[in-house]
């Protein structure tokens, strides 16, 4: 594969960032949910 390093870097950064951001959001959501009673955990 020509320019394999660039391709690998691009895919690693994109999927790594998305995984990292996903983990951050999910953990923040869990932490906030625990601080509130069930009736305040409705978002509509």
């Amino acid at each position: 594969m020509t320019n394999g390093g660039y391709v690998l870097a691009g895919y690693t950064i994109v999927f790594g960032t998305l995984i990292g951001y996903t983990v951050r959001i999910l953990l923040r959501g869990r932490s906030l949910s625990k601080q509130l009673p069930p009736e305040d955990r409705r978002w509509m």
């Binding site: 391709v7 870097a9 998305l18 949910s33 601080q35 305040d40 955990r41």
Partner: protein, 240 residues
């Protein structure tokens, strides 16, 4: 029973489809799709760069919509949509920037150049970063929402400038990848469309979770404020 997380049936379905979609995209983009005649394998980065740019535009479009609707309706729902879409959009902006730079090095010979598209794009990134900073400035809720809505609408002006910059000015960046006159071969175009659909699904999944986190953040803040006020009132009632 309401679960202690931001998931729901909708997010589970979209999440599962996104994960399966990403597996398909990786196979199509890295194995099935042929290398480009001119760009070689560096063209495989386009299967990331264009879809993340589309997700970014969705984010900023929803941010502008949410901001305009908040100014009109003063509804908390629209403000929450605006801030959630901006943050998720900013993540995709950073990814568009980075994938573009990585693609630029083997294709143009440089990671960065101050041409019209790249300059207007970096300005867009900074403006939405500024929007999130404005959101965090201490202020009354209504003041915060109003000024961030104006910043959002002002920032959105740069979105069409970024898009049309390649036609308005001389630019190193190529013109629109997908148009009515596109000359991309069948399997490459198919891979690009599949990747676009999957990244849009990923955006939707992230937005749903981020929206709920933003909603919970406001709830926690309001509860904390209510608690502090009631504590002060209780203190004031205590006879010395």
């Amino acid at each position: 029973m309401i679960p202690e997380h931001t998931g729901s049936r909708a997010t589970r379905i979209i999440g599962a489809l996104t994960l399966a979609g990403f597996a398909v995209v990786l196979v199509l983009a890295l194995v099935v799709s042929p290398p480009d005649q001119v760009q070689g394998d560096a063209a495989r980065l386009i299967y990331l760069h264009v879809p993340v740019a589309i997700a970014m535009n969705l984010g900023f479009g929803l941010n502008a919509l949410g901001s305009a609707m908040w100014l009109w309706k003063k509804s908390r729902w629209w403000d929450t949509l605006a801030v959630s879409a901006a943050e998720v959009g900013l993540v995709f902006t950073a990814l568009t920037l980075v994938t573009g730079m990585i693609w630029g090095r083997p294709t143009w010979g440089v990671y960065w150049t101050w041409d019209a598209r790249l300059t207007s794009f970096s300005l867009l990134f900074l403006m939405y970063l500024g929007y999130l900073v404005v959101r965090r400035l201490p202020a009354d809720l209504e003041v915060r929402n109003r000024r961030s809505a104006f910043v959002a609408l002002l920032s959105f002006v740069d979105v069409p400038i970024v898009y049309f910059s390649v036609t308005w000015w001389r630019s190193l960046h190529q013109s629109a990848t997908i148009s009515l006159n596109t000359t991309i071969s069948g399997s490459m175009l198919f891979t690009l469309f599949v990747s676009m659909a999957v990244f849009v699904a990923c955006f939707a999944w992230l937005l749903l979770h981020r929206f709920r986190v933003a909603w919970l953040e406001d709830e926690v803040e309001t509860k904390g404020l209510d608690l502090a006020i009631s504590e002060r009132r209780a203190e004031a009632l205590v006879v010395p």
